[in-house]
């Protein structure tokens, strides 16, 4: 077997890397060659450092918060029984259906100075708004909270899978040596699950880095906001693209740190005992604490904001016209985009299975697309469109939009697939090959069945992500293809939050189906 050099097997992934990476590359290239001038000097002198520091702070806080919410929850739900466990095991994925910007609107309204929480404090005490301290959502921790509360399910899903699939033998050995409770989690469970958890966390952080909607609404000056501002206010898309490079660099370093850490700590399950660890009953006091905390998390990250949005819609008798066509285009674009990104992710994963360098390259390029804000990819698409001499209509527009979906989201498909692949014992692969299974044969008879659980997770995550996607859809959709996200955004920019609520809730509703399917699959693997 030749190492890699010019092997035929490396052609599809190389082509795909080019396809996925092109929009980001074009945008950044244009930024580097055509940017500059007075605006860039101004940003360099006055804004670049604050933008970057704010972004790093938001990412660190959001990362810690997601870790703190998701990992213990996944551990307790995987290994213990307590009241409501079955419901929590799937319900904790619900917040994934909530777009970050919608979460920001809802919590800003709930926590705002004129919102229900603060109003009731004032009514009860007779104070004025200046007489007391109240946590300010319009702050770096506030933004980190909003992003973490919609993105922690990524970490939860991967941690759940890791805890559930860990060898019962390992845990039993640890238990027999007297390690229980917290020690079992910290010394045995967590180290085994770390690669998976970091995979989920780096996905969530790249998604957080690319956020614009929530940060803009909360007035936090992240790089995402700076990028849009240098385009909107200064009218210099090239400067925006240049600034995007800083963001990709920051997100990329998070990604590489995670990968290095994974590489060192990666543990492979070689035990043939695939039995899931048996769950034990939590003692009553701990059981209550568990039930209460997960109820609270669900309330904060899903039910309270959804209920508030519903109330806003009812209170102001909001109406929104012609929502059905929006649902249709959202679902059609979501499905097409999912298929495209999924195929790309699958090719990436399988064709780079035996080639470390190529695999790292592929994942890095996919990650760059994922961490770049949608506007930057959209800009890249427009730069490419200019070269083609076409109008942004009909199939050309759909083609570009799907291309950008693939470029942006392939990473969200690669990571779950890769995680599944990495958890499989290497000897399965070798066994298949020694039995003569190669190429297509191996793909169909060995790889597909083994990857199926990860594939389902990847597909569903992709669909929900594309459903929520806003900037690229807004820029590239053909005439008459408004999506739910586009309409929600249109109402929200006009400060009609109550009206924005209806399409926003429909996004949540449309995302709920796949999310429930994903939860169901997770519970099912657990039982087998």
């Amino acid at each position: 077997m030749p190492r890699f050099a010019l092997s035929i097997r490396s052609i599809p992934p190389v082509l795909l890397i080019a396809l996925v990476g092109l929009p980001v590359l074009v945008a950044v290239w244009a930024g580097l060659t055509a940017g500059g001038g007075a605006t860039w000097d101004h940003i360099l002198q006055n804004r670049l450092v604050p933008y970057s520091l704010t972004t790093i702070w938001v990412l660190i806080l959001a990362g810690l918060l997601m870790f703190a919410i998701a990992v213990p929850a996944a551990w307790v739900i995987s290994l213990f029984d307590f009241p409501g466990r079955r419901v929590f095991s799937w319900a904790l994925i619900l917040p994934l259906a909530m777009p970050g910007y919608v979460m920001a609107y809802a919590w800003a309204d709930l926590m705002g100075v004129a919102g229900p929480l603060q109003s009731s404090i004032r009514d009860a005490t007779g104070w004025s708004a200046r007489d007391y301290w109240f946590p300010n959502l319009f702050s770096v921790p506030g933004l980190a909270f909003v992003l973490a509360s919609t993105l922690f399910p990524y970490v939860y899903i991967t941690a759940r899978a890791a805890f559930t699939m860990q060898s019962a033998a390992t845990l039993e050995a640890a238990r027999s040596l007297g390690t229980t409770g917290w020690g079992l989690f910290a010394r045995v469970g967590l180290p085994v699950a770390i690669p998976a958890v970091l995979g989920g966390l780096s996905l969530a952080l790249m998604e957080a880095a690319a956020d614009y909607g929530a940060a803009e609404f909360l007035g936090i000056q992240t790089l995402g906001v700076g990028i849009v501002r240098s385009w909107n206010s200064f009218g210099e898309p090239n400067t925006a693209a240049r600034l995007a490079l800083a963001l990709i660099f920051i997100a990329g370093s998070f990604f590489i740190i995670a990968k290095l850490f994974q590489g060192q700590r990666g543990t492979q399950q070689t035990s043939s005992r695939w039995l899931n660890p048996r769950r034990t009953e939590l003692p009553p006091q701990s059981a209550w604490i568990a039930t209460l905390s997960y109820t609270l998390i669900l309330l904060i990250c899903f039910f309270a904001p959804v209920a508030r949005l519903l109330w806003l819609a009812i209170e102001s008798r909001a109406t929104a016209v012609e929502l059905w066509p929006l649902v249709q285009s959202s679902v059609i674009l979501g499905t097409m985009g999912t298929i495209g990104a999924f195929i790309a992710a699958l090719v990436f994963t399988l064709s780079t299975k035996r080639n470390r360098e190529l695999r790292f390259g592929a994942r890095l390029v996919a990650a760059a697309g994922y961490a770049a804000p949608g506007v930057v990819l959209g800009l890249g698409a427009l730069f490419i469109l200019r070269e083609t001499g076409q109008a942004l209509t009909g199939w050309v527009a759909i083609g570009f939009l799907l291309w950008i979906y693939v470029s942006r989201f392939t990473s969200a498909g690669v990571e779950p697939l890769q995680a599944t692949l990495e958890r499989l014992p290497k000897n399965l692969d070798n066994a298949a090959r020694s039995l003569g299974a190669r190429g297509m044969n191996q793909f169909v008879r060995v790889d597909v069945p083994l990857l199926a659980p990860g594939a389902l997770a990847a597909g569903l995550i992709l669909f929900v992500e594309i459903l929520k996607e806003l900037p690229a859809t807004l820029m590239l959709r053909p005439f008459g293809w408004d999506t739910l996200a586009v309409r929600a955004h249109a109402y929200a920019t006009d400060e009609r939050l109550a009206q924005a609520t209806l399409p926003a809730l429909l996004i949540v509703l449309a995302g709920l189906g796949p999310v429930l399917l994903l939860s169901w699959r997770l519970s099912r693997t657990e039982r087998t």
């Binding site: 605006t39 006055n46 800003a108 004129a114 909360l218 206010s233 009218g235 001499g389």
Partner: protein, 381 residues
């Protein structure tokens, strides 16, 4: 696209000269009622572009001319208005809604192939941007020129105002008299410390206001003004205009820099809490200095350089300036109609009378980047 390829045939059947002739005749006959001519113009094009009347061949149904709008406004009432024009003029309207800057980049990328015929934006600065990028064409229309006051249109006809929006001050009447807030300068004074709520500086309405300040006083003075405002802020810029007005009602600040229609909409809201917010606040339209007039912004429209049927585009603009157009543009949005003859939308009568500044609105766009730079330096997030 198929549809637009068919347009020239329609044009051939409906000679341009005829339409403007019709229009001019109407003008001469009824000078006092401009709108008659507008509706005639609409009717004329409607008559000759309606496939049913121009061609008997069954395939003519496919030849419905298309008018493509690139709009940065997003209102349901706009959709209803466009549907009405489709019916009246027998055309098919395509709309691409996105932010003005995204539309500019899209048009640049599409170049000669762009299907865009008309641009609609909710800010004069954006119109200037389109013009600056060479994406608009001068349209010297007597009809439009007669209706649209001079400072609300580009001198060469690159763009025309369609509705007016005021940036003003919502305030707590228990705390301030209107004359204590009569000019924008008053917000910079020390007695306003800790009293001002305003949204982020990258908002286009803040940039346009700053654009006029720069035009009037120069960069240095305008920058000093921004620094003083930052010093007087009650909190970091956050949320939208509506949130600033709510913050007054909640007592967090007593002055908010907002557009008039957000305040009007709160009063017209179905939610009781919103009505209470509006009732507990007042609104005024400050001047720059006494007698200078007030900062007015517009919703405006332009005909693109790629428009393959400028006559149809002009007809559409005229339609927006008709009584129907004006009423649909402003009823839901609570903007001020451009025409004084159109009835004010419900609730807008509460906005005090004002005199518009005579600055041409193009300066907002020209000064936009400088405005953002000054805001950044002043620390106005």
């Amino acid at each position: 696209m198929q549809d637009s390829n068919q347009v020239p045939e329609i044009e051939a059947q409906c000679p341009v000269a005829n339409v403007s002739q019709l229009c001019q005749n109407a003008n001469m006959i009824q000078r006092t009622r401009i709108f008659a001519s507008l509706s005639l113009l609409v009717g004329a094009v409607a008559a000759c572009s309606n496939p049913a009347e121009t061609a008997d061949a069954p395939e003519a149904a496919e030849a419905t001319p298309t008018l493509t709008l690139y709009s940065s406004r997003h209102y349901d009432s706009d959709k209803a208005l466009f549907a009405m024009f489709e019916e009246q003029a027998g055309v098919k309207i395509n709309v691409r809604e996105a932010s003005a800057d995204q539309l500019i980049e899209t048009m640049k990328a599409e170049a000669d192939m762009s299907p865009a015929d008309v641009i609609i934006t909710a800010d004069a600065g954006s119109l200037w941007r389109f013009q600056d990028a060479g994406l608009t064409q001068p349209l010297l229309s007597e009809t439009l020129t007669e209706v649209v006051p001079e400072n609300y249109r580009e001198p060469d006809g690159h763009w025309y105002g369609m509705a007016r929006r005021l940036r003003g001050i919502a305030y707590d009447p228990a705390r301030w008299n209107a004359d204590e807030l009569a000019t924008w300068d008053t917000l910079a004074s020390e007695d306003k410390a800790g009293e001002i709520c305003v949204r982020s500086s990258s908002n286009i309405y803040n940039l346009s206001l700053m654009g006029e300040l720069i035009h009037r006083y120069g960069s240095e003075a305008a920058g000093e003004w921004a620094t003083s405002i930052v010093g007087n802020m009650a909190r970091n810029p956050q949320g939208g205009d509506t949130d600033q007005i709510r913050a007054i009602a909640a007592g967090e600040c007593s002055i908010a820099i907002v557009n008039h229609y957000y305040w009007v909409r709160l009063g017209a809201s179905a939610a009781e809490t919103d009505q209470q917010v509006a009732a507990s606040t007042s609104f005024l339209v400050p001047e720059f200095t006494e007698g200078s007039g007030s900062h007015v912004n517009i919703t405006g429209a332009a005909v693109t350089v790629t428009a393959d049927n400028p006559v149809l585009a002009e007809t559409f603009l005229a339609f927006l300036l008709s009584e129907t157009g004006q009423s649909y543009l402003t009823t839901e949005t609570k903007e001020l109609p451009l025409l004084d003859t159109t009835a004010l939308p419900d609730g807008v009568e509460a906005v005090p009378a004002f005199v518009a500044s005579d600055v041409n609105l193009g300066v907002y766009g020209e000064n936009q980047a400088e405005a953002q730079r000054l805001f950044d330096i002043a620390g106005w997030n």
